[in-house]
Symmetry: C2
Subunit: 366 residues, 2 copies
């Protein structure tokens, strides 16, 4: 006697119920992460079913341990965006966020800047033996709440444990997939002379917030990471300015590096005006004290948009209407040349080449 095959959703439902039952059977009592939690055996199951899945909450309801099969509508266009990022930020918690929310926002933003509606994320931990379980729990809570707020599911996951001294507490990888809607075609190759350069807000907040949290510097400043998801802002801009050329989120290397990448990919010049770049006063002061350029500092919730000149005003309005976009500004424009270069009109009225970040003044910023 063979029961008829059930549709996929029913099967998932059935597996979830079985998993919930197991969770109730085997609660997690360990106070620290041990090598056994990465073995794939009983302790791994207790960690995943007894803590990670219940703590992720609704964002993780459909997590499959090996591979998730997603039944999604809207795939008819056949365009899927795919991205990956590892997060090694130190410290794990900082004003405005933590490694968990960062891992959700950062990967969402890589999908968003490709013009994709984020669909789901994977979540992979590398844990150091001895990590306090309460720390891991806080990070998982933060992941669950960031994903829920962004409307993105955690679909699949992995947990590895390495011996004490072989990692630094915890690292996260999130990969993501998203759907690119019909008609959306973003690429640096679309950039043309005359296009406008838009920036969604103040630069440098994330990098400086993490550095101050890490170094315990004697700088009195109220600086919080700008870590935030950008997919809704991107959707608003694309609705208002459908000829938008491309987006970039200026993370590691900052706005300067992102603009250089775009100039090289498109074979154009980009000129920006330093006076038009919004910077919080505290960030500016910290950068001056530390000899850093805010344009080289990482952001985790800022968007650069290159838009057609006749759509620039509408795109700016859309940016400013989005959460965290109220300081958005048009900071420059695209030139025929010099090719592959970014020019900065300085506050003093002069002009200089703005290079990519060289070296790494702020390691482990994300």
């Amino acid at each position: 006697m063979t029961a008829p095959r059930t549709p996929l959703s029913d099967q998932v439902d059935r597996l979830d119920r079985a998993r919930i039952a197991r969770r109730l059977r085997e609660p997690l009592r360990d106070e620290r992460v041990t090598l056994s939690h990465g073995s794939g055996g009983k302790a791994s199951h207790r960690l995943i079913d007894g803590m990670i899945l219940p703590t992720l909450g609704t964002a993780g309801l459909t997590v499959e341990e090996d591979s998730a099969v997603l039944s999604v509508t809207g795939l008819a266009t056949g365009r899927v965006a795919f991205t990956t990022d590892s997060y090694v930020v130190s410290p794990l918690f900082f004003p405005g966020g933590d490694i968990g929310s960062l891992a959700v926002h950062g990967t969402i933003n890589d999908l968003a800047t490709a013009g994709a509606q984020p669909l789901c994320l994977s979540l992979a931990f590398i844990l150091e033996e001895g990590l306090e379980m309460s720390v891991l729990r806080s990070v998982v809570e933060s992941i669950g709440s960031a994903a829920t707020l962004a409307g993105v599911m955690i679909a699949t996951g992995d947990t590895k444990v390495v011996p004490r001294g072989k990692a630094d507490r915890l690292f996260i990888n999130t990969s993501g997939i998203g759907l690119v809607a019909e008609g959306v075609s973003l690429s640096a190759a679309n950039i043309r002379a005359g296009d406008r350069v838009l920036l969604s807000g103040c630069v440098g907040d994330h990098g400086i917030a993490v550095m101050l949290a890490r170094e315990a510097l004697e700088i009195e400043a109220d600086i919080r990471s700008d870590s935030a998801p950008l997919h809704r802002m991107v959707a608003a801009i694309l609705a208002a300015a459908p000829a938008t050329r491309c987006f970039k989120d200026p993370t590691r290397g900052g706005v300067a590096t992102s603009l250089n990448e775009m100039a090289r990919q498109a074979g154009v010049g980009i000129a920006i005006d330093e006076r038009l770049v919004p910077v919080h006063a505290d960030v500016r002061a910290a950068c001056e004290m530390l000899g850093l350029d805010p344009l080289h500092i990482a952001n985790e919730g800022k968007l650069i948009a290159i838009v057609a000149p006749d759509e620039a005003a509408r795109a700016l309005d859309a940016m400013r209407s989005a959460p965290a976009g109220q300081d958005a500004a048009i900071i420059g424009e695209v030139l025929e040349g010099p090719e592959d270069m970014v020019l900065l009109k300085t506050e003093a009225g002069g002009s200089r080449v703005l290079d990519m970040l060289v070296g790494d003044p702020l390691p482990r910023i994300c």
Copy 2:
């Protein structure tokens, strides 16, 4: 004057040419990994464009640094498989493979066991400052060649560097997406009493090979990891035995853990016969010396298939015809009960409960 928009493929082509030009401009000369290689700035570009992309070869031709947009056919069914795994194996190189080939095969296999045709992988490195560039290059070469042989593209990537002492040389995360064909519906929930349990070959090779390489034990043995991609074997089995219930690749925790997971997910009992489980003589001897059960040892190129009784012979033939499937065997069957348990008929003729792996006798095996 605005040039007409080109189709996506042309844009990718144009970006690739730009990237190749940059590669030629900025060769990588560093002999060791530095923090700058993870900064997102100039050194990161030199590492990615000057070494990683050219070394990946054809498998990496379309790598996008932030997010890849894939134009794929066959998405009309709307079912995408998505998986992630981090790899922290120690040592990095072992008989039969290395962390790079393992990261390709392991993630392909998680897609394959979901019944998906692997489409592409992401590739994320966490590197320890000071890692020899020659080691990284060997690993990237291995990734490129494993992906090319498997017919899978590397679509997107990320590189982070942490200070010396904060990681162990190098960790990899690969995530993967694949397409599930119309009519394929695999799930432990499909398992029924009477189903047969098939295993594609000898167990324990990977775990013992890695352990011998790591510990430099005085055991004379010619044991190589079985690391291999399983998607072609899966496709052959599905063609021969379309009612196949589900697959699993018995990695961490071994065959015993995988069977226990399936028994619990399906709410059935599974009985296997120890005498029918193929084990290489050298692996058996090493396990006896070390007090380990080969059924708890990790494999990286083995497949468990649960198949309908009337299709078992055809499925076994398909397994045996696939590369690395010549030792395949039917090792047991599914029972109504005892629910959630695996029973082992021992070589001595008795019967005992075969539990999941408890503890972790072989940490960092993948």
